[in-house]
Amino acid sequence: MIRISVGLICVMLLCCQSVQAEINDERAHSNYQIFCQGCHSPKGDGNGGVPQMKGLVGHFLKSTQGREYLVQVPGSANSALDNEQLAEVLNWIIKNFADDSAPADWRRYSAEEVEVLRQSPLLEVVAFRKNLIDGLPVKN
Protein backbone atom coordinates (compact mmCIF):
# COMPACT_ATOMS: atom_id res chain seq x y z
CA MET A 1 0.00 0.00 0.00
CA ILE A 2 2.84 2.36 0.90
CA ARG A 3 4.50 1.60 -2.44
CA ILE A 4 1.29 2.44 -4.31
CA SER A 5 0.96 5.73 -2.42
CA VAL A 6 4.57 6.68 -3.15
CA GLY A 7 3.99 5.83 -6.81
CA LEU A 8 0.85 7.95 -6.92
CA ILE A 9 2.67 10.90 -5.37
CA CYS A 10 5.45 10.55 -7.93
CA VAL A 11 2.93 10.49 -10.79
CA MET A 12 1.16 13.55 -9.36
CA LEU A 13 4.45 15.41 -9.05
CA LEU A 14 5.33 14.53 -12.63
CA CYS A 15 1.93 15.77 -13.78
CA CYS A 16 2.44 19.06 -11.92
CA GLN A 17 5.83 19.45 -13.56
CA SER A 18 4.39 18.81 -16.99
CA VAL A 19 1.68 21.52 -16.71
CA GLN A 20 4.29 24.16 -15.82
CA ALA A 21 4.27 26.79 -18.56
CA GLU A 22 7.00 26.33 -21.15
CA ILE A 23 9.60 29.05 -21.70
CA ASN A 24 10.93 29.67 -25.18
CA ASP A 25 14.13 31.46 -24.15
CA GLU A 26 14.76 33.08 -27.51
CA ARG A 27 11.22 34.46 -27.83
CA ALA A 28 11.06 35.56 -24.19
CA HIS A 29 14.43 37.31 -24.38
CA SER A 30 13.41 39.10 -27.56
CA ASN A 31 10.15 40.28 -25.97
CA TYR A 32 12.07 41.38 -22.87
CA GLN A 33 14.40 43.40 -25.07
CA ILE A 34 11.58 45.05 -27.01
CA PHE A 35 9.12 45.70 -24.17
CA CYS A 36 11.13 45.87 -20.92
CA GLN A 37 14.84 46.42 -21.49
CA GLY A 38 14.52 50.12 -22.37
CA CYS A 39 13.90 50.88 -18.69
CA HIS A 40 15.03 47.73 -16.88
CA SER A 41 18.41 47.49 -18.71
CA PRO A 42 19.78 44.39 -20.47
CA LYS A 43 20.59 42.54 -17.24
CA GLY A 44 17.83 43.88 -14.99
CA ASP A 45 20.28 46.02 -13.03
CA GLY A 46 17.88 48.94 -12.71
CA ASN A 47 18.85 52.57 -13.11
CA GLY A 48 17.47 56.11 -13.21
CA GLY A 49 14.87 55.32 -10.56
CA VAL A 50 13.90 51.97 -12.12
CA PRO A 51 14.01 49.21 -9.47
CA GLN A 52 16.76 46.58 -9.69
CA MET A 53 15.50 43.10 -10.56
CA LYS A 54 18.85 41.30 -10.70
CA GLY A 55 19.30 39.09 -7.65
CA LEU A 56 16.15 40.47 -5.98
CA VAL A 57 13.04 39.91 -8.09
CA GLY A 58 12.54 36.36 -6.77
CA HIS A 59 11.82 37.65 -3.24
CA PHE A 60 8.39 38.78 -4.44
CA LEU A 61 7.45 35.14 -4.97
CA LYS A 62 7.70 34.56 -1.22
CA SER A 63 4.25 36.07 -0.62
CA THR A 64 0.97 35.87 -2.51
CA GLN A 65 0.74 39.66 -2.72
CA GLY A 66 4.30 39.82 -4.03
CA ARG A 67 3.57 37.24 -6.71
CA GLU A 68 0.52 39.23 -7.79
CA TYR A 69 2.50 42.49 -7.73
CA LEU A 70 4.83 41.33 -10.51
CA VAL A 71 1.81 41.04 -12.83
CA GLN A 72 -0.14 44.07 -11.54
CA VAL A 73 2.75 46.55 -11.71
CA PRO A 74 1.90 48.94 -14.59
CA GLY A 75 4.87 47.92 -16.75
CA SER A 76 3.47 44.37 -16.79
CA ALA A 77 -0.29 44.85 -16.60
CA ASN A 78 -0.42 47.63 -19.19
CA SER A 79 2.20 46.23 -21.56
CA ALA A 80 1.40 45.40 -25.18
CA LEU A 81 2.28 41.74 -24.49
CA ASP A 82 -0.63 39.29 -24.54
CA ASN A 83 -1.26 37.02 -21.54
CA GLU A 84 0.87 34.13 -22.79
CA GLN A 85 3.75 36.40 -23.76
CA LEU A 86 3.61 38.27 -20.44
CA ALA A 87 3.59 35.02 -18.45
CA GLU A 88 6.55 33.76 -20.46
CA VAL A 89 8.54 37.00 -20.04
CA LEU A 90 7.87 37.05 -16.28
CA ASN A 91 9.00 33.43 -15.99
CA TRP A 92 12.08 34.23 -18.10
CA ILE A 93 12.90 37.24 -15.87
CA ILE A 94 12.72 35.12 -12.73
CA LYS A 95 14.71 32.31 -14.33
CA ASN A 96 17.46 34.65 -15.50
CA PHE A 97 17.53 37.50 -12.98
CA ALA A 98 16.33 36.09 -9.65
CA ASP A 99 19.55 34.17 -8.89
CA ASP A 100 19.15 32.88 -5.31
CA SER A 101 16.30 35.20 -4.38
CA ALA A 102 13.48 32.95 -5.71
CA PRO A 103 12.18 30.05 -3.62
CA ALA A 104 13.54 26.73 -4.92
CA ASP A 105 10.03 25.47 -5.65
CA TRP A 106 8.65 28.61 -7.30
CA ARG A 107 5.73 28.00 -9.61
CA ARG A 108 5.76 29.50 -13.07
CA TYR A 109 3.08 32.01 -14.06
CA SER A 110 0.43 30.74 -16.43
CA ALA A 111 -1.41 32.78 -19.06
CA GLU A 112 -4.66 32.19 -17.14
CA GLU A 113 -3.22 33.56 -13.89
CA VAL A 114 -1.80 36.58 -15.68
CA GLU A 115 -5.11 37.23 -17.44
CA VAL A 116 -6.96 37.49 -14.13
CA LEU A 117 -4.33 39.51 -12.24
CA ARG A 118 -3.70 42.14 -14.90
CA GLN A 119 -7.38 43.15 -14.72
CA SER A 120 -6.48 44.93 -11.47
CA PRO A 121 -3.41 47.08 -12.21
CA LEU A 122 -1.88 49.04 -9.35
CA LEU A 123 -2.31 52.78 -9.08
CA GLU A 124 -0.18 53.87 -6.11
CA VAL A 125 2.75 51.69 -7.09
CA VAL A 126 5.55 53.25 -5.06
CA ALA A 127 3.69 53.20 -1.74
CA PHE A 128 2.31 49.71 -2.43
CA ARG A 129 5.76 48.39 -3.27
CA LYS A 130 7.30 49.84 -0.10
CA ASN A 131 4.65 48.24 2.12
CA LEU A 132 5.04 44.98 0.25
CA ILE A 133 8.81 44.88 0.65
CA ASP A 134 8.54 45.74 4.36
CA GLY A 135 6.28 42.72 4.80
CA LEU A 136 8.39 40.22 2.87
CA PRO A 137 10.14 37.51 4.88
CA VAL A 138 13.57 38.73 3.76
CA LYS A 139 16.47 39.87 5.91
CA ASN A 140 18.37 43.01 4.81
Partner: protein
Protein backbone atom coordinates in the same frame (compact mmCIF):
# COMPACT_ATOMS: atom_id res chain seq x y z
CA UNK B 1 56.27 -10.17 -20.87
CA UNK B 2 56.77 -12.67 -23.68
CA UNK B 3 53.05 -13.17 -23.94
CA UNK B 4 52.51 -9.43 -24.34
CA UNK B 5 55.28 -9.20 -26.95
CA UNK B 6 53.84 -12.08 -28.94
CA UNK B 7 50.33 -10.65 -28.73
CA UNK B 8 51.42 -7.21 -29.97
CA UNK B 9 53.61 -8.66 -32.72
CA UNK B 10 50.80 -10.89 -33.95
CA UNK B 11 48.33 -8.05 -34.10
CA UNK B 12 50.81 -5.63 -35.68
CA UNK B 13 51.53 -8.15 -38.44
CA UNK B 14 47.83 -8.76 -38.99
CA UNK B 15 47.22 -5.01 -39.28
CA UNK B 16 50.16 -4.59 -41.68
CA UNK B 17 48.86 -7.38 -43.92
CA UNK B 18 45.37 -5.90 -44.09
CA UNK B 19 46.22 -2.22 -44.62
CA UNK B 20 48.55 -0.15 -46.76
CA UNK B 21 50.45 3.07 -46.05
CA UNK B 22 48.70 4.74 -48.97
CA UNK B 23 45.33 3.70 -47.55
CA UNK B 24 46.22 5.29 -44.23
CA UNK B 25 47.31 8.51 -45.93
CA UNK B 26 44.13 8.52 -47.96
CA UNK B 27 41.99 8.09 -44.84
CA UNK B 28 43.86 10.80 -42.92
CA UNK B 29 43.76 13.24 -45.85
CA UNK B 30 40.07 12.62 -46.44
CA UNK B 31 39.26 13.18 -42.77
CA UNK B 32 41.20 16.43 -42.60
CA UNK B 33 39.67 17.89 -45.76
CA UNK B 34 36.19 16.66 -44.78
CA UNK B 35 36.36 18.18 -41.32
CA UNK B 36 37.57 21.49 -42.72
CA UNK B 37 34.68 21.76 -45.19
CA UNK B 38 31.86 21.11 -42.69
CA UNK B 39 31.64 24.78 -41.56
CA UNK B 40 31.45 25.85 -45.21
CA UNK B 41 28.28 23.89 -45.86
CA UNK B 42 25.27 26.18 -46.44
CA UNK B 43 23.18 24.46 -43.79
CA UNK B 44 25.76 25.26 -41.11
CA UNK B 45 25.85 28.94 -42.03
CA UNK B 46 22.08 29.28 -42.21
CA UNK B 47 21.69 27.90 -38.70
CA UNK B 48 23.85 30.59 -37.15
CA UNK B 49 22.24 33.66 -35.64
CA UNK B 50 24.27 36.72 -36.60
CA UNK B 51 25.50 38.67 -33.58
CA UNK B 52 26.67 41.61 -35.65
CA UNK B 53 24.52 42.40 -38.69
CA UNK B 54 26.06 42.99 -42.07
CA UNK B 55 25.84 46.68 -42.77
CA UNK B 56 24.86 48.73 -45.79
CA UNK B 57 24.14 52.46 -46.12
CA UNK B 58 25.33 55.77 -44.75
CA UNK B 59 24.95 56.20 -40.96
CA UNK B 60 24.91 59.98 -41.50
CA UNK B 61 21.76 59.66 -43.64
CA UNK B 62 18.26 59.40 -42.20
CA UNK B 63 17.60 56.55 -44.65
CA UNK B 64 20.11 54.29 -42.88
CA UNK B 65 18.29 51.09 -41.91
CA UNK B 66 18.95 51.31 -38.16
CA UNK B 67 17.08 54.63 -37.93
CA UNK B 68 13.65 53.20 -38.85
CA UNK B 69 12.15 54.12 -35.47
CA UNK B 70 14.25 57.13 -34.52
CA UNK B 71 13.08 60.62 -33.61
CA UNK B 72 15.96 63.03 -33.04
CA UNK B 73 19.32 64.32 -34.20
CA UNK B 74 21.79 61.75 -35.51
CA UNK B 75 24.88 61.51 -33.29
CA UNK B 76 26.77 60.50 -36.43
CA UNK B 77 26.51 64.18 -37.52
CA UNK B 78 27.23 65.59 -34.07
CA UNK B 79 30.74 64.37 -33.31
CA UNK B 80 29.74 60.87 -32.23
CA UNK B 81 28.62 57.87 -34.25
CA UNK B 82 25.57 55.67 -34.62
CA UNK B 83 26.61 53.81 -31.46
CA UNK B 84 28.71 56.31 -29.49
CA UNK B 85 27.96 59.68 -27.92
CA UNK B 86 29.85 62.86 -28.84
CA UNK B 87 32.52 64.02 -26.36
CA UNK B 88 31.08 65.94 -23.44
CA UNK B 89 27.76 64.08 -23.45
CA UNK B 90 26.49 61.15 -21.41
CA UNK B 91 24.55 58.18 -22.79
CA UNK B 92 21.18 57.71 -21.11
CA UNK B 93 20.64 54.27 -19.61
CA UNK B 94 16.87 54.50 -20.16
CA UNK B 95 16.13 54.07 -23.85
CA UNK B 96 13.53 53.89 -26.53
CA UNK B 97 13.59 50.47 -28.20
CA UNK B 98 12.47 49.62 -31.72
CA UNK B 99 12.93 46.92 -34.34
CA UNK B 100 14.26 47.48 -37.88
CA UNK B 101 14.67 45.17 -40.85
CA UNK B 102 18.22 44.97 -42.18
CA UNK B 103 18.02 45.10 -46.00
CA UNK B 104 21.19 43.00 -46.34
CA UNK B 105 20.02 39.84 -44.59
CA UNK B 106 16.27 40.54 -44.31
CA UNK B 107 16.27 39.97 -40.54
CA UNK B 108 14.64 42.19 -37.93
CA UNK B 109 17.02 43.55 -35.31
CA UNK B 110 16.23 45.07 -31.91
CA UNK B 111 17.60 48.62 -31.85
CA UNK B 112 18.21 50.65 -28.71
CA UNK B 113 17.99 54.41 -29.39
CA UNK B 114 20.08 55.62 -26.48
CA UNK B 115 19.98 59.41 -26.22
CA UNK B 116 23.15 61.40 -25.56
CA UNK B 117 22.60 64.03 -22.91
CA UNK B 118 24.30 66.94 -21.14
CA UNK B 119 24.73 69.49 -23.97
CA UNK B 120 22.19 71.61 -25.80
CA UNK B 121 20.58 69.93 -28.77
CA UNK B 122 22.84 69.21 -31.74
CA UNK B 123 20.34 70.60 -34.29
CA UNK B 124 22.01 68.76 -37.19
CA UNK B 125 20.65 65.80 -39.18
CA UNK B 126 17.15 65.76 -37.70
CA UNK B 127 15.62 62.35 -38.48
CA UNK B 128 12.06 61.41 -37.67
CA UNK B 129 10.93 58.03 -39.00
CA UNK B 130 8.91 56.80 -36.03
CA UNK B 131 8.16 53.20 -37.07
CA UNK B 132 6.34 51.55 -34.16
CA UNK B 133 5.98 54.86 -32.30
CA UNK B 134 2.84 55.09 -30.18
CA UNK B 135 1.13 58.09 -28.51
CA UNK B 136 2.43 59.32 -25.15
CA UNK B 137 -0.21 57.42 -23.22
CA UNK B 138 1.75 54.29 -24.21
CA UNK B 139 4.87 55.67 -22.54
CA UNK B 140 6.92 52.50 -23.03
CA UNK B 141 6.40 52.65 -26.81
CA UNK B 142 6.58 56.41 -27.37
CA UNK B 143 9.71 58.06 -28.68
CA UNK B 144 8.41 61.54 -27.82
CA UNK B 145 9.57 61.07 -24.23
CA UNK B 146 12.81 62.75 -23.26
CA UNK B 147 14.76 59.59 -22.49
CA UNK B 148 17.53 61.71 -20.94
CA UNK B 149 15.56 61.33 -17.71
CA UNK B 150 17.83 58.31 -17.18
CA UNK B 151 21.00 60.43 -17.31
CA UNK B 152 22.46 62.89 -14.80
CA UNK B 153 21.45 65.77 -17.07
CA UNK B 154 18.08 65.79 -18.80
CA UNK B 155 19.30 68.11 -21.59
CA UNK B 156 18.97 66.24 -24.91
CA UNK B 157 21.76 66.41 -27.50
CA UNK B 158 21.42 63.58 -30.08
CA UNK B 159 20.41 59.92 -30.53
CA UNK B 160 22.33 56.73 -31.24
CA UNK B 161 21.02 53.49 -32.79
CA UNK B 162 22.63 50.45 -31.18
CA UNK B 163 21.83 46.90 -32.26
CA UNK B 164 21.14 44.87 -29.11
CA UNK B 165 19.86 41.63 -30.62
CA UNK B 166 17.94 39.80 -33.30
CA UNK B 167 14.15 40.04 -32.99
CA UNK B 168 12.35 36.70 -32.59
CA UNK B 169 10.62 35.67 -35.81
CA UNK B 170 7.45 33.59 -35.45
Amino acid sequence: MNILDRFLEKNARKLAQRSSRRGLLKLLGGSLVGAATIPLLPVARAAETPKHPQDQGDPASCDYWRYCAIDGFLCECCGGSYNTCPPGTEMSTLTWIGTCRNPVDGRNYVISYNDCCGKTQCSTCLCQRDEGDRPLYRADKSNDINWCLGASSSVYHCSTAIVVGVAFEK
